[in-house]
Symmetry: C2
Subunit: 159 residues, 2 copies
DNA sequence: CTCGGTGCAAAGCTTTTGCATCCGC
DNA sequence: GCGGATGCAAAAGCTTTGCACCGAG
């Protein structure tokens, strides 16, 4: 029997929750309710988000958190790879959940500000070349293409 | 007879100066001395720089400029492709001169903060794939690898 | 002479920090 | 109960904006 979408989501959160606990224990950090609440909120968001909207989301749910704790927890989650941080050209940082989702790169539409995701194996080959030729040990990468998407609603193409 | 390094640099600036004038005329913008002074200062810098250091550089040379004008002029220079703007993970924007230099991507050392440059033709192939498969018109891209460089002085490797 | 551009300072936005309080361990 | 974590607010960085003055066209 196939699990429903909801069950899948729950399963992913269970796993993420478990990984976060392991990380906190490994680093001798405290398992505070705020940290888990923030993690859960993040995994309920489907697209990229910034710190302020995450903070407002939680405030709207009458959860008592501070911006400082949100920033602090995001740092932890980025460190243990459960969340990815992006700087898409602007000074505002965007985040997205990272566990259980294929690693990918981004297409950023400069007209309608949509963010599309794509994968290409050649990026791995480039990374390998960089490590061999430059003796550079790659830990992570970011590849962004900026341009115009083909969404019918983008920049009112259909008007 | 080969031109000296100094003459080469002058030649590049002459060309850049000419292109900037054409851009300003095309956009009906004024050819103010501040704009040319900032352009010249930028083309005398060999590595990546931020707004504040460019501003301080000019102040130290007793040139009367304001941060506002530096920001404004940088926007123009980025728009006409004479300068490139980067966001290397931090909120601080870095810039570099763009004319007469091969387009390239970056290796950012997270230990010693050195920035290395490299080129790989496969990025063009990925771009082409993105345009074909996603119908996305690419205007520009940024590819950064974050990791550890092999410089002997990096992170005091030699101690 | 006009009005776009500039310098300066104030304001805006995102992120960090200091400190008293709180609570996980 | 100890010391790390939190909430709050203030402060810090980078960038933008408002306004009076200046000078390019």
């Amino acid at each position: 029997m196939e699990p429903s979408k909801t069950e899948e989501k729950t399963d992913i959160y269970q796993e993420v929750h478990r990984l976060f606990i392991k990380y906190l224990e490994r680093k001798s950090l405290r398992k505070t309710p705020e940290r888990f609440a923030i993690l859960e909120e993040i995994y309920s968001i489907q697209e990229h988000f910034d710190v302020e909207s995450l903070y407002i989301n939680m405030k709207n749910k009458n959860y008592r958190v501070s911006r400082a704790t949100v920033y602090n927890t995001l740092d932890l989650l980025v460190d243990c790879k459960l969340v990815t941080k992006h700087q898409f050209g602007k000074s505002l940082a965007l985040y997205e959940k990272a566990y259980g989702f294929k690693q990918h790169d981004h297409l950023i539409c400069t007209e309608c500000h949509r963010i599309l995701e794509f994968c290409d194996p050649r990026i791995q080959q480039i990374q390998q070349m960089v490590e061999e030729v430059y003796g550079f040990k790659v830990m992570e990468h970011s590849l962004n293409f900026y341009g115009v998407c083909n969404d019918p609603d983008c920049a009112n193409k259909n008007l």
